[in-house]
Amino acid sequence: MPAVDFDYYAPATLPEALTLLADLGEDVKVLAGGQSLVPMLTMRLARPRAVVDIHGLDELRGVHRRDGGLEIGALVRHRSIERGDGPLAACPLLPEAASLIGNVRVRAMGTIGGSLAHADPAAEWPAVVRALDGVLVVRGRDGERTIPAADFFTGILSTALRPEELLVAVRLSLPAGRAGYAIEEFSRRAGDFAIIAAVAAVELDAAGRVARARVAIAGGGPGPVRLAAAEQALAGAPPSEETFREALARAPLEIEPDGDVHASAEYRRHLTRVLARRALVRAASRAGGAAGTPR
């Protein structure tokens, strides 16, 4: 079905885009890679008065090392991240997560900023950014503010972005020393949204014990969720599969999954424990701890 008419703007610079967003007010959609917005337009789930197409904003395509971490421009495509070139090599989790997104065509056009601003509860990037305590850099006509991932995702397809604001970059701090990351997900068919995805980041201390473990879940609620209780239980523990299994079995899971045609709520809870364990095992083994073979 064709999309409903809208006014179309393709600003050439960031200031121009921000002025447009401020002037246009409500009922405006920002078009990045279009892999979520265009189907919403053609299915008429979205009928904005105006679309601001930001593909001309080359200043949002950079990837830089910054304070030991990474700053990734909002318009960096999944496919570039999947290739893991240049500074992205600093965090192997990113290519791994990118490779799980949609299909190769979605990855060719879709952008990390588009995915984060769209905030699909089952999407990979929100969980990755939440696991790594990322910071979202947001620009409005009157200036810039930064929003921690914990405060950015406010619900299903909802974020703390104001209508006149644009997400311009995401900052990820990368722990120095023995750290490893992994993502595990389950979907019914190749390319489907994850029923559950688990992202783990494990840091080991000098003695080889868990200094800090972080786990974020996608598909377990209206936004990405951290398994804070299990994370706390793991601090100081040996990074073994048994430890991870036990922590995930005993700790209350912070997720609030809904049951639907794809999976019951109970099955999603089960998947959360299994995938979080596998992600922790792989992350710990990459950090240099002997965590056994993931099953």
Partner: protein
């Protein structure tokens, strides 16, 4: 309604068009330019039948606003070989019986073409992964994989 004048290259030929901002490239290709080798399947970017190459990379024409094709090079399956000739991948599809109803074939071939360009010596598992975003509802995947494998092997000889 916003209308725009765009110019892009379609299979090596420059095309200029007036398009509505809300039109997808798929609509313009099929309904306006007669490029009906680009098939419309799901219309939501999942099935891969509308795959075209945008500057050499496979994209879903149904998820690309036509305005975004301005200044770019668009290749459909028809653009892989001169008129009346077949590309080696197309020949391999024929030789291996890799088309049943044929609806997925243009997208499959374009996806395989871009994939082989980046991975000239793929394993069977890599080929399976490469075409995982293109659905064949006749479920004739085995022969499609055979054909892509053979085309890759032929390039090596």
């Amino acid at each position: 309604m916003t209308e725009l004048s765009i110019a892009f290259t379609l299979n090596g030929e420059r095309r200029e068009r007036r398009v509505a901002a809300h039109q997808t490239l798929l609509e313009v290709l099929r309904d306006d330019l007669g490029a009906v080798e680009v098939k419309e399947g799901c219309g939501e970017g999942v099935c891969g039948t509308c795959t075209v190459l945008l500057d050499g990379e496979p994209v879903s024409a149904c998820l690309l606003l036509a305005a975004r094709a301005a200044g770019r090079e668009v290749t459909t399956v028809r653009g892989l070989a001169p008129a009346g000739e077949m590309h080696p991948l197309q020949e391999a599809f024929v030789a291996h019986g890799a088309a049943q109803c044929g609806f997925c074939t243009p997208g499959m071939i374009l996806t395989a073409h871009a994939f082989l360009h980046q991975h000239p010596h793929p394993g069977r598992e890599e080929i399976r992964r490469a075409i995982s975003g293109n659905l064949c509802r006749c479920t004739g995947y085995t022969k499609i994989i055979d054909a892509i494998e053979a085309a890759a092997a032929a390039r090596r000889d």
